[in-house]
């Protein structure tokens, strides 16, 4: 009985809890309520994933209106996995949050913070679960608006400017998506994704000359790329990540951009089909080129950052590049690598930002020059950071290695029948080379933290409380577990990839 309504409960429960939070007001109670809700949502998405792997895609008609007229929620292998990632990271980060929130956010705004967090989570979950394109836009805006407000809660005054910048860029991106949806609707008269996919086949075949469809596709892909922070549309990201409260950064880095990648996967693979997107339209070459430039440029930029959060933010742009690279291959292997990296990078970067949040709790500044010798005063936190960093580089035994391995193998895999040299092979070399750049920027922290003498302000620091360390180590530990036991995530990613690629035939 409950199983049948899980898809809608997943959204409705957090959505209704957030106004409740405002009514409750008392910070402690709101915190408990939000944490409980997040874990409940996580439990539901686990159950959904289990159901999907047992019986295939689940659909839910809202209000009993059948698709394509009513709004449909649809959970398949891909969306179930992304739901799990988003709700899982959401739950862990909020469990970790209270201590950090107490330090970074004024008491009177804390209720607001928890409410917005829940709303943002709702929006992200909604984007993933909905099967209706316009509904997707609405959820996108729910999550975006609450994210803008969350970022503006940062301590530094530049948080306000960063939030405003993100608001402008994000709204432009969302409006582009809205234009794309409108033009698609104009041609087909449909908004349901599955319905659109069949309606569009006559326009996306070999003789695709319908300009409206082309323009719609262009608007959609640019809009989504903006939300995804694909190079060169990434300008909003470094400031937003750097000046947002630590908890918010950890949450966003683990979920928000990943969900945008999900949207791109849906639009290119489910709705417009790879044949149109990658063969008639040159999206594969464009994405691959931009991804490679993005990886190299942002990794290099990360090396020269002084602020630890900013360094990680640039690294995030580079990692988005890896994900996009896999996506651009239009093969089962490529999409598997992409989805796997979404999963692994959510854990790694989430864990890294959580460790960074522990540092921010004890130190006045996160500039590298103020972190000298922190490994002696906060050994557990610094070790967690270092392990996460190894995952970022892609050292074997961490989950980062597994997804990079899949990515490299699928890059090398194209064109082997003909034994010819292709751009993909060059891309494989560049991907490996970029790991070296990652090694350099990760090493900068390790060097500073473990091989330098502590400064005065570092001497005063003490280890972060267990309440924050435990969730951090839980996430960091998972990156190690999935590094030596990669079967589960790999199977889930393969299942997800076949869910999107399989639907193209």
């Amino acid at each position: 009985m409950i199983d049948a309504h899980l898809p809608v409960l997943q959204i409705v429960i957090p959505l209704l809890t957030s106004p409740l939070c405002i009514l409750v007001r008392a910070n402690r109670r709101v915190m408990a309520l939000v944490i409980a809700t997040c874990w409940l949502v996580f439990a539901m998405s686990c159950r959904l994933l289990y159901l999907v792997s047992q019986q295939g895609a689940i659909t839910y008609q809202l209000g009993g209106w059948p698709a394509p007229w009513g709004i449909e929620y649809r959970v398949d292998g891909l969306s179930a996995l992304i739901l799990l990632i988003v709700s899982g990271m959401g739950a862990i980060v909020i469990t970790y949050a209270p201590t950090s929130v107490d330090r970074e956010i004024p008491v009177e705004q804390q209720t607001l913070f928890y409410t917005l967090y829940l709303l943002s989570l709702t929006g992200l979950l909604g984007i993933v679960i909905t099967g209706d394109l316009f509904n997707l836009f609405v959820f996108l805006e729910i999550s975006s608006l609450s994210t803008y407000a969350l970022i503006s809660l940062g301590k530094h005054r530049r948080a306000l400017v960063a939030a405003f910048q993100y608001l402008v860029m994000g709204t432009i991106g969302a409006t582009f998506i809205l234009i794309g949806i409108g033009l698609t609707y104009q041609i087909t008269g449909g908004l349901n994704m599955a319905d659109l996919a069949s309606l569009l086949t006559q326009y996306t075949g070999d003789h695709a000359t319908n300009r409206t469809v082309l323009v719609a596709f262009a608007f959609l892909s640019v809009g989504i790329s903006l939300k995804m922070a694909v190079f060169p549309l990434h300008q909003w990201l470094p400031n937003a990540y750097t000046f947002a409260p630590s908890v918010v950064t950890a949450f966003l880095a683990a979920t928000a951009t990943k969900v945008s990648v999900y949207v791109l996967l849906r639009v290119t693979y489910t709705i417009f089909k790879p044949h149109f997107a990658f063969e008639l339209m040159p999206l594969d070459v464009e994405l691959m080129g931009l991804a490679l430039i993005g990886i190299l440029w942002s990794s290099t930029a990360a090396i020269f950052q002084q602020n630890l959060k900013r360094l990680l933010a640039f690294s995030s742009i580079a990692q988005i590049g890896y994900i996009v690279l896999g996506l651009s291959l239009a093969s089962v292997g490529g999409v598997t690598a992409s989805v796997l990296h979404i999963f692994n990078h959510a854990l790694i970067k989430g864990g890294l930002f959580m460790a960074t949040g522990c540092l921010a709790l004890r130190l006045p500044s996160l500039d590298l020059k103020h972190l000298h010798g922190i490994g002696r005063r906060m050994p557990w936190t610094a070790t967690a950071w270092a392990i996460g960093g190894l995952g970022l580089i892609g050292v074997p035994l961490t989950s980062g290695f597994v997804s990079k391995w899949y990515l490299i193998v699928s890059l090398l895999g194209t064109g082997t029948e003909t034994n010819e040299w292709r751009l993909d092979h060059l891309a494989a070399v560049l991907v490996i080379g970029a790991s070296l750049l990652a090694a350099i920027y990760v090493w900068r922290f390790v060097d500073v933290a473990f091989f330098r003498e502590p400064t005065a302000e570092v001497e005063a620091a003490t280890e972060a409380p267990l309440r924050m360390l435990l969730p951090t180590y839980f996430v960091i530990g998972l990156t190690l577990v999935f590094g030596v036991w990669p079967t589960l995530p790999t199977q889930l990613a393969a299942q997800a990839a076949s869910a999107v690629i399989g639907s193209t035939h």
């Binding site: 580089i393 050292v395 074997p396 035994l397 290695f401 597994v402 391995w405 899949y406 490299i408 193998v409 090398l412 895999g413 082997t416 034994n419 494989a428 070399v429 490996i432 080379g433 790991s435 070296l436 090694a439 090493w443 091989f451 590094g483 030596v484 036991w485 990669p486 079967t487 790999t490 199977q491």
Partner: protein, 513 residues
Amino acid sequence: MSAETRILLLLVLPLLTSGLIVLFGRRPNLREAVHLSLGSVVFGIAASLAGPVFHGLRPELQLGELVPGFAISFRFEPLGMLFALVASGLWVVTTAYAMGYMRAHHEANQTRFFACFPIAICAALGAAGAANLLTLFLFYELMTLSTFPLVTHHGDEAAQQGGRTYLTYLLGSSIMFFLLAIAWTWQVSGRLDFVAGGILSSAFHEGRISRGGVTLLVGLYAYGVGKAALMPLHRWLPAAMVAPTPVSALLHAVAVVKVGVFTILKIMIYTFGASLLNETGASLWLMYVAGASVLLASWVAMHQDNLKARLAYSTVSQLAYITLGAALATPAAWVGAAMHIAMHAVGKITLFFCAGAIYVATHRTQVSQLRGLGRQMPWTMAAFLLGSLSIIGVPPCGGLWSKWMLATGAVEAHQYPLMAVLMISSLLNIAYLLPIPIAAFFAAPEDAADSHGHASHDSVHQDAQQHGEQHGGEAPLLCVVPPCLTAIGGLLLFFLADKVFHVLSNLPDVISN
């Protein structure tokens, strides 16, 4: 105890040792006792495995997966077993030596220093037993990371600089080339395990990789394994000499560099296979690059006045011998290369031990300061002489046999110029090694004031008074006995060489192709 358990213990015990060392950090004697005793146990286990392996058994062990389908798995064959024996055996000797050295120097952070040692040994043992390329790669990287704190141990600017070079070269080459080569190998052959006769030849015959592709792949492996210090990627080795001497001894004469050449040898034998290499000529260029590396490094070594730098360049040259043997791809050459791993390890560790003992006793670091030292430190300089003879390959030292086999291999492959390279290089070895013990025994000693002047330049940790105390005698016993032991080991290997040869050459999976 089953073979599986023993393999697991080989890997776990060093890590346990490391943990205990950290635990007992405040009680140095207990710490060192644990280190020595567990080290001996590890060597004992390796020795107990060696018998069955040399008689044809292949013990295996599987742990978790790295990538689905690729387990972290181990399978000891004679080549790996030999390497494991050498590494674990010399570990015990080095530990004893390091205790003497570090205490005589009152070094700081000794616990961190000793805790990193066993991890590096774990990496060496894991690499020795690795059953596939990914496992090998994993332990190869572990080796780099665990030895970095040892290289930068002093923490001053020079150590930082050396450490940076060390890390850049080793991590850079391995990620950039080695990993790429592994991925490529997997892509064309669909497997990564080590198989007699190689895994790439069928891929070549089915046209999935071209002749040029194989040649490029050989290059990616040869330079991806930066620890083999093939020129021009050798710079990290002299840079790593900023480390305390026990580190240079164990890691940069035995564990680290030998993991490099061992990896190359193993890849040539079990990934490419002799028939593919001979058929395509893919490793022809590598022979000549290695040959050039042998000569050039010897030439550079001759012009180094710093003793450790001279030994480092000598190592670069000797490693190129092994790479050369691996590239020759004939049975004799491979056996010779494998033997040279052991022979050179014993010889070079002796020389480094002596260099460290000299530094402890007199604080001299330059070759030109060693004249007449034979009267003051007869045992040390005698060991140095024997070590030099072993490296040069003069009877009655083990080094003779490996060089002999390598030369035979060059003849087998009809590469006569390379045979000439080996000859000339032996002459160069004489020219840069032998003058040191000869001058020490037969030249008149420098006057004390002069050496004192030098010492104040080089000394960081030792004050003048202590210098005065130790002047005029041997280094502490713990610094003198180990080099004598390894020097005798070098002599023994001369007589045991036929056993080693037997073990290596009777193996169908080394010789057959």
